[in-house]
């Protein structure tokens, strides 16, 4: 029997769901159901093989699921640290700008007052 089934065809071909109620399954029905189960299992295994190619191979020659997860955790931690750094640096820059602007306004104000007092 050919295993060249498209996954969508396998998904759509659920003959067990279309059996009328009260119908006593025949041998043909059971055979059809088993064939569908076999084909769906084949499709699942093919998909799983495709997914595991996304993972590097570890020293045990197996897909490194734990390493992949650890790397994602580290990347997330790194991103959070970088966001924290940018946040803190931005606050300092805003403080510098506001201090400069206040100093500018204050110096103009002081000059004005000094001019009035002369």
């Amino acid at each position: 029997m050919s295993t060249e089934f498209k996954d969508s065809q396998i998904q759509n071909r659920r003959s067990a769901d279309h059996m009328p109620s009260g119908h006593t399954p025949t041998l043909i029905d059971v055979w059809t159901l088993l064939t569908e189960i076999r084909d769906r299992l084949d499709a699942l295994e093919r998909n799983f093989d495709t997914i595991t190619t996304a993972f590097p191979i570890d020293d045990l020659k197996k897909p490194d699921y734990a390493g992949h997860r650890r790397q994602h955790v580290e990347i997330t931690k790194g991103d959070e640290l970088m966001d924290g750094y940018k946040h803190d640096a931005t606050k300092q820059i805003i403080v510098i700008i506001v201090t400069f602007v206040i100093g500018l306004i204050a110096s103009g104000f002081v000059t004005k007052i000094a001019g009035l007092l002369k």
């Binding site: 640290l81 924290g84 750094y85 940018k86 803190d88 640096a89 931005t90 606050k91 820059i93 805003i94």
Partner: protein, 156 residues
């Protein structure tokens, strides 16, 4: 869960938006604007006539004549546009050029501010460009060295 008060939300939002503007944007638009500014300076300085007799350019005139300044701005403009067009934003050459560019604009602005009093209003655009040039130069160093120091401080 208690919602933070309005002023804290506003402050957090301001910091978040400002942070995105200064850290998470590429600076290509700033580089193009700097190139346009340098081109304008080159045209004005190489225009026939003597611009450097005006008091605003006293300090710049003491360094060299206006034709040479015009050529410097023109070369800077061409280099800046080449960096943008060749997408060569992160090489060592573009980092060194950014330092030179920041120095050029910084000196130009400071010399004009020191040459006349009160400060000329027309150099508001040049002041903004000088800050842009400085930020283009310093941001990569803040993102690498500054970040490493921050991580060491956090982990201590």
């Amino acid at each position: 869960m208690d919602t933070p008060p309005l002023h804290k939300k506003a402050r957090h939002s301001l910091i978040r938006v400002f942070s995105r503007a200064i850290w998470d944007t590429d600076l290509i638009a700033s580089r193009v604007t700097l190139a346009l500014g340098e081109f304008s300076w080159a045209v004005m300085l190489l225009w026939p006539g003597d611009s450097f007799t005006r008091p605003t350019y006293t300090h710049m005139a003491m360094i060299m004549n206006e034709e040479l300044w015009g050529v410097i701005f023109l070369v800077s403009c061409i280099t800046q546009m080449s960096i943008v067009l060749m997408d060569d934003l992160y090489s060592n050459f573009s980092k060194y050029f950014a330092g030179w560019n920041a120095a050029l604009w910084g000196y130009t602005v400071i010399s004009m501010l020191l040459s006349v009093y009160p400060p000329p209003a027309a150099i508001g655009g040049e002041i903004a460009l000088a800050f842009s040039a400085g930020w283009i130069w310093i941001r990569p160093y803040l993102l690498v060295e500054g970040y490493q120091k921050y991580v060491h401080r956090i982990q201590r």
